[in-house]
Symmetry: C2
């Protein structure tokens, strides 16, 4: 297996695959020399390469773990290096554009099946990697209509073997769902932080555990999330508009002292959340 | 010490005060017989009373731990029972209305100083109580202009002795700040859940850790939070409007593909959140 981009997800994947004996050897490419050295010094990595085309040369499975905007360009850059029959996947948070652009530059006989393991953290980087990051979390696998069924089955098996619960969706349906269940929550947390950043500094010392939980994801990299917004702009605009409507409805109920309506919305939310795990 | 209403906060307070040796005896009033029996069976509680006026009779300090809408009515109901010089406080999430209404029904020689320990959880009830709930968390104490300085100092000392970082604010300033740092986050989490509750049920299985964190508080009691909305309506309407404006600004940036603006908002948020603990 080759991991391109050993950040939080890439390094956790290396650890998890090694610990579960899923692969014989783990090879890594990282852009930065420090990251390559850190990988060489870790137990889960067998070898590193400075050149990504060199890194993928002998691998049966290649996992792209770079930011979403660098996945298709990287596949294009290393396309001459892939072994015949190599199986590619990624861990990007958006899928339609990645699957379309990656498939367009794929050499014959090489397969790409998009993946989105719903695991991660506001903490980025290899230093926060954990071999149990994927355990019992959801993973969405997004074959295109033309994707080989066998390649898809192998990718599904790969994530299941890492302890994930796998769902298959089209890339477009993935993006629409994830806009609501992941990108919208992230944007709300970020906008809340952005609002509070304008308030007096001493308010910070008064933060309760609720604020800490609600905003945790906003500590994530702004660069990564700007790329995600760019990839998933239209579905995200759609759910932001839905949220705006609901917010206006709630504010009206509050303004009109319609406590029955306020209680109804809060109770619907409570029942939903109670059921989530 | 008497605790009126041994829910999550009341029972945690009994445990913490007992463990730290802050009080000699802990007496409890609870509306429900099951709750009184559970208290009697716990190590931190010395005695219970069926009648709240009876419960407060010999106590130097009385802590009201009921929902916000029942604090002033309960003080009025038990006013004949307070010991001379008794010191009252509460743990309600709103302060202006509670301080005003409670002070209006206070007998001569009895002191009330409002408190809001910024601790808690989406889990309610005595069964989730923890003796370390208050430890190293913020607490806001809200004396009125006419409140005895000595009474305020004793309440500040009380929370500090429980390991809290105490800030003094006027009840109105408390409500304005808490609308932004606690009630707004709660409403956003609830509205997000309310939006997702209308989506297909199978989306639930795809929830990532980010969604779980962001919405955790929405599992809290809808009744308690409706009362909080009622008490803190005006400050909450104010910050909801601020949020609406920011949301519109963000959606415009996204629609216009102004990635510099999107990145700027996300980065401002990241820096704010990184600094929060």
């Amino acid at each position: 297996m080759t991991i391109l981009g050993p950040g939080l997800l890439g390094a956790s994947l290396g650890m998890a695959a090694r610990q579960r004996g899923l692969v014989q050897r783990v090879r890594v490419w990282a852009r930065r020399a420090e990251a390559r050295n850190a990988c060489l010094g870790s137990e889960w990595c067998d070898s590193v390469a400075e050149d990504p085309a060199e890194a993928v040369r002998e691998s049966e499975i290649v996992v792209l773990c770079t930011p979403v905007d660098r996945i298709a360009p990287l596949v294009e850059r290393v396309r001459s290096g892939f072994a015949p029959g190599a199986l590619l996947t990624d861990v990007g948070s958006t899928k339609a554009r990645i699957c379309r652009e990656t498939t367009a530059v794929l050499p014959a006989g090489v397969h790409f099946v998009g993946s989105h393991p719903m695991a991660g953290s506001e903490k980025t980087g290899m230093e926060n990697a954990r071999e149990d990051l994927f355990n019992e979390r959801a993973c969405i696998v997004t074959p295109l209509a033309a994707t080989s069924g066998e390649a898809t089955a192998r990718i599904v098996h790969f994530w299941e073997a890492l302890g994930m619960r796998v769902t298959r969706l089209s890339p477009e349906e993935h993006d629409r769902i994830v806009a609501a269940i992941s990108h919208l929550p992230h944007m709300l947390a970020s906008l809340l932080c952005s609002l509070l950043a304008e308030k007096p500094d001493r308010w910070k010392a008064l933060a309760g555990t609720g604020l800490l939980d609600t905003t945790r994801v906003a500590a994530g990299s702004s660069g990564l999330w700007t790329s995600i917004c760019e990839h998933n702009r239209d579905p995200l605009l759609g759910v932001l508009e839905e949220f705006r409507t609901l917010l206006a409805e709630f504010s009206s109920a509050l303004r009109e002292e319609d406590w029955k309506k306020v209680a109804g919305l809060l109770e619907e939310a409570r029942l939903y959340r109670q059921d989530l795990q």
